[in-house]
Structures are given as structure tokens and as C-alpha cells.
């Protein structure tokens, strides 16, 4: 850290430091005690600013666990939603989320990694490349509901996929693609050039270098990025509402063309009912959702740490 080694404030001594000594004539008055007190106050203000976020997160988690824990049980995971809170579960939403996650990974990973390989390894520095790059960084900032509208018009209506899992997964693919591309590019960039040169020296073509050397070496980094992108997809409700338009579904999808719901939509449905029991169910759903996200992120961190120790060898 930069500031750690910075010199301490000068010692508070000398006549100029006395409070009330406002300096006569043109004499310089450092007002040291005032400035140091000010510094101490500012320190606590800044500390408080850091604490706002941490305390907010803490209260949120405690609140969710207190409200939701009594509703957690096996049947909550294995049963379908119901009008009776004590019988309700999130089975259809859980299956929908798993389907969406799987299909999205299936479509987004090849495209995202392909785009990353092109931009890092093949593209020359020209206008087209810079247009693609600016475009990707802007796509990352488009609100998720706008992707929902795109999916609704393009996949649901024009391509006539209906309000299906497939339309949902394609929409989600477009949403997470910038994340996958960015992460994959970083992973590919981190592969040492000596690997490539060694492979070329053995007579490899460029595609052989990419396929047999660069991609295997970048795989852990790519995997980490993919998991983080999918965990973004798992939490998204807005675009899925635009596609699915369903909040209450009592069957599990078995086919990519089936209608579906996902966990954040089910939670939204429970939150928007006025009865306290459904709020409890919502909190229980949030616990399950956060546990899924937590485990995905743990896997991502594990993969990344393993990768880091390997490259240091």
C-alpha cells in the first residue's frame, strides 16, 4: 500500500501549535493541533463509510436467515409451489434454474471462448477489432431488462421459440457473453508467450497452438470466469420475467421448449404477496439461492487458487 510508508504527521511541538495562537502580522501559523484533530475526525468518518456497506450486508444476511430458516425443510426443495404456504416448495423453480444454467453454459462458453481467442490471438489492431472491443464493454452496461425485451422480440416472437427454456437460455447467453469474453481474454493473456513459441518451434500451426497449448493452459482462468458469469445468470430475474411471464408453475420442465420459471422469479412471486407466511417462504428461497451462489463462488475461488500456485512452479 502506498500510504503505509508515508511519513507521519510532524510532531506537535513549537510555538505555532498552541491553540488560540492566531499568528501576528504575516507570521505563518500551521494550526497543527486543529489539523491533526481534523485528521482524526476524518479517519473515523472514512471508517464509518466502509462500515456502511459491511453492516448493511450483515443485517441483510441475518434478517434473511431469521425469517427464512423456520421454513427450510426437505419438502421445501422437493415440492411444487402451492397456494398453501406450509405445502409450498420451489421444485419447479430449482429445475428451471438448473436447466437455464446448463443450456446457457452450453451456448455461451463456446461462443465466448471463441470470441476471446479471436480477439487475443488472431485479431490484428484495426478498426473492426476496436469496434468489437468498445461494443463488448458497452454491452456489459446494458440493463438486464433490455436483454429481456430483446429476447422477447427476437427469440420468443420472431424465431417462434415461444416462452421456452431455450429462448430464456439464449437471452441469458447474450447477457453473460461480455463477462465470459472478458474473463477468457484475461486468462488467455496470462499464458506465457514462451509456451506458444515452443509449440511453434515444434512445427505447430496456429490452430494447433491454440487448441493444444494456449487453451489448456488458460482453462482454469476461463473456468473461473464461466462460473462467475453463470452465477450472475442464476440471480437474474428481470429478463427471465420478460421471457417467461410466469410466476406460478406446478410442473418441472423436461424439454428445452417447455415453459419454465426460475428461482429469483419464484422468490419475487412470494415477496409480492402480502401474507407474512409467503414472505417467510421468500426468505427461505433466498437462503437456497444464496447457498447455490456461495458454492459456485467457492468453486471459482478454489479453481483460481489452484491455478495460481501452479503457474508459480
Amino acid at each position: 500500500m502506498i500510504a503505509n510508508n508515508a511519513p507521519n504527521n510532524p510532531p506537535n511541538s513549537g510555538p505555532g501549535a498552541a491553540p488560540g495562537n492566531t499568528g501576528r502580522g504575516g507570521e505563518f501559523d500551521p494550526r497543527l493541533r486543529f489539523r491533526q484533530r481534523m485528521g482524526a475526525v476524518i479517519f473515523f468518518v472514512l471508517l464509518a463509510a466502509v462500515m456502511v456497506g459491511i453492516v448493511g450486508l450483515g443485517i441483510l444476511l441475518v434478517q434473511v436467515v431469521i425469517q427464512g430458516a423456520p421454513w427450510l425443510s426437505w419438502h421445501f426443495v422437493s415440492d411444487f409451489p402451492s397456494r398453501h404456504p406450509e405445502q409450498a416448495g420451489l421444485r419447479s423453480a430449482l429445475f428451471g434454474t438448473i436447466w437455464i444454467m446448463g443450456l446457457t453454459a452450453l451456448i455461451a462458453v463456446p461462443i465466448g471462448v471463441g470470441a476471446a481467442v479471436y480477439l487475443e490471438e488472431y485479431a490484428s489492431k484495426n478498426k473492426l477489432t476496436s469496434i468489437i472491443e468498445i461494443n463488448i464493454s458497452n454491452l456489459a452496461g446494458v440493463p438486464s431488462i433490455v436483454y429481456g425485451l430483446l429476447g422477447l422480440a427476437l427469440f420468443v416472437q420472431w424465431m417462434a421459440m415461444g416462452r421456452s427454456l431455450l429462448a430464456g437460455a439464449m437471452t441469458m447467453t447474450l447477457l453473460v457473453l461480455p463477462i465470459v469474453i472478458l474473463a477468457s481474454r484475461e486468462a488467455i493473456r496470462a499464458v506465457p508467450d514462451s509456451y506458444r513459441q515452443a509449440a511453434y518451434a515444434m512445427g505447430s500451426t496456429q490452430w494447433q497452438v491454440e487448441r493444444l497449448v494456449v487453451l489448456p493452459a488458460a482453462l482454469p482462468g476461463i473456468l473461473t470466469g464461466v462460473i462467475l458469469a453463470l452465477s450472475r445468470a442464476v440471480g437474474e430475474a428481470a429478463p427471465m420475467i420478460a421471457i417467461s411471464a410466469l410466476v406460478f408453475l406446478t410442473f418441472s420442465p423436461t424439454d428445452p421448449l417447455d415453459r419454465f420459471t426460475v428461482m429469483p422469479i419464484q422468490i419475487f412471486n412470494w415477496v409480492s404477496r402480502p401474507q407474512d407466511d409467503f414472505r417467510g417462504l421468500a426468505a427461505a428461497g433466498i437462503i437456497v439461492l444464496l447457498l447455490i451462489l456461495l458454492s459456485m463462488n467457492s468453486v471459482a475461488i478454489y479453481v483460481r487458487n489452484r491455478y495460481q500456485t501452479r503457474s508459480e512452479e
Binding site: 500510504a3 503505509n4 485528521g39 430483446l150 440471480g235 439461492l289
Partner: protein, 299 residues
């Protein structure tokens, strides 16, 4: 035995390059897809409603008769919630960034930064739940006339949500400020907070401004939090205790309704979506421009 088939390798290699280029171009196609679908679908709407009336009208009642398509109440609701969020997140995020960059020990920073970033990874329905079932009842204890659905608690919770956007980007900008600037100020007898506020912050200003713009843009596009906690009453007001409706919440509300595809009510969501896209795109371009400007300065 070693055997080499150079011809098939070359052909495959060339084909692969085109396939990979196609993957990269899909992102450009996505942007064009967004623009085209929004324009085409909104066309049906603007065919029947004068765009000027849409932009300047102050009453939004797309379903209840007499219908009126003035989008300002939705824009006003969006701005109200975003301003409340910004009022919380900008000073707090900047303060956290200064603390992490100028005051915190490395060990503290390595723990606190990821914890703050967890805030950005929590699904937004969770924040909606939190605003509706915890924050609103707490504020109601102090302000009994606060409605169940209101802009205030949605804005405050959204502020917490976007803190990491402000703090991470601002901190990156501050860390990039050359050490010699700090040392020069210390040599003149400045205290640490003077160095932070009067040297580092001004030097990192364009990065900080970029983080502000991107965070507000995120707040404007945020959907589930405001759908759950801010209400569904298009209402042109600056009173934060009232129930409002944002552009995004309207899109969700109508998506869940029974409007027939192709009807004018249905096409309203594309007109509103187009406006939302234009606003956030403009802010993002501005933010990225500011980031680039600051990078050029110190690299």
C-alpha cells in the same frame, strides 16, 4: 512414425479463424439486435402516439381509460430513486475508497474489498425483499406516513447495492495516482487527510467521476429492487415517502400482465425500453470516456 498433413491443417486453420471471428462479431450483432428490435417494436407504438407527447407528457396511464402516454412520471420515478441511491452511495463509496486506498493496511484492504464486492453479487430480488420487509418497517417507526411501497427505502437499499461500484473504481483510480505527488505534499508538511482530500482525490477525479456515472447508470437500469419495493403507481413527484413506478418496474409489470402481443399497450414496453437503453448507453459512453481520459494521463 511422424506424419504431417499440412494441407488439411492449413484449410482447417483458415476455417477456424473465420468461425472465431464470427463468435466475436456476435457481440456487435447483439447490439444491433437490441437497437433494431427496440426500434421496430417501438415503431408500432410511435405510429399511434406522437413521440413528442410521449417524451413531454406528464400522465402515464397506458391501460386505464382515458389512456395517456406521457412517460415523464416513469422517468421522474426512476430519477427520484436513483438520486436517493446516489445521495447515499456516492459519498459513502468515495469515503470507503479513500479509506482503502490511503489509510487501510494491506491486510485490512485484502479482506474488506472482497466483502464490499459481495454486495454487487447479491441478486437484486434479495435487495427488494430486504427493502420491503426490513428497511421500510424500520423507517416507518420514525416516519409513520411512509407508504408500504415507497421511493425512499428502495433508493436507500439501492444505494447500498451500488457502493462497491463507486468504491472499487474510485479506489483503482486513486491507487494509480503517482506516489511522488503524495510525497511532495507530505514534504510540505501536509497531514494524511490533507494529502488524501487535496492531492489524491483531485488527481484521481476523472476516475472518480467515471465511477459515479457508471454507478448511477446501474441504478437507473436496476429492475427487481424497485419493482418489489418502490411500487406500481406512475407518479410525478419528488416526495420520497410516496409510491412511484420506475421505467424498469413498468416493463416488468406489463410483462406479467395479459396484454396481447402487438397491441399498443404491449408495444409501450419497447418504447420505454428504448428510452431506458438510450439513457444508460449515453451514461456508459460518458463513463468509459472519462476512464480512458484518466488512463492516458498517468500511463
Amino acid at each position: 512414425m511422424f506424419k504431417r498433413n499440412r494441407d488439411t491443417d492449413d484449410v482447417a486453420g483458415k476455417a477456424v479463424k473465420w468461425v472465431l471471428l464470427f463468435c466475436a462479431l456476435l457481440s456487435v450483432a447483439t447490439t444491433m439486435g437490441i437497437v433494431i428490435t427496440l426500434l421496430v417494436q417501438a415503431w408500432g407504438f410511435f405510429f399511434e402516439v406522437n413521440p413528442w407527447e410521449f417524451i413531454t407528457g406528464t400522465r402515464w396511464s397506458p391501460i386505464l381509460k382515458p389512456t395517456s402516454f406521457g412517460v415523464l412520471p416513469l422517468v421522474g420515478g426512476t430519477l427520484l430513486v436513483s438520486l436517493i441511491a446516489a445521495a447515499l452511495a456516492l459519498p459513502v463509496g468515495l469515503g470507503a475508497a479513500i479509506f482503502l486506498s490511503e489509510y487501510a493496511h494491506d491486510r485490512v484492504r485484502r479482506v474488506v474489498k472482497p466483502v464490499l464486492e459481495v454486495l454487487a453479487g447479491v441478486p437484486t430480488v434479495v435487495y427488494g425483499y430486504f427493502a420491503l420487509t426490513f428497511v421500510t418497517p424500520q423507517i416507518q417507526k420514525a416516519m409513520p406516513d411512509l407508504l408500504v411501497f415507497n421511493a425512499l427505502s428502495a433508493g436507500l437499499v439501492m444505494g447500498i447495492m451500488i457502493i462497491p461500484m463507486v468504491s472499487s473504481l474510485s479506489e483503482d483510480a486513486m491507487v494509480a495516482v503517482p506516489r511522488s505527488l503524495r510525497n511532495g505534499a507530505y514534504a510540505l508538511g501536509a497531514t494524511r487527510f490533507e494529502v488524501s482530500l487535496k492531492v489524491v482525490v483531485p488527481a484521481a477525479l476523472s476516475g472518480i467521476v467515471a465511477s459515479f456515472i457508471l454507478a448511477i447508470s446501474r441504478a437507473i437500469g436496476e429492475t427487481m429492487l424497485v419493482t418489489i419495493a418502490a411500487g406500481a403507481t406512475p407518479n410525478l413527484t419528488i416526495n420520497p415517502v410516496e409510491s412511484i413506478q420506475t421505467m424498469t418496474a413498468y416493463i416488468v409489470q406489463l410483462s406479467l400482465g395479459e396484454a396481447a402481443h402487438g397491441s399498443i399497450e404491449f408495444n409501450t414496453i419497447f418504447a420505454v425500453g428504448l428510452l431506458l437503453f438510450v439513457i444508460t448507453l449515453g451514461m456508459n459512453l460518458l463513463g468509459h470516456w472519462a476512464v480512458r481520459r484518466w488512463r492516458q494521463k498517468y500511463e
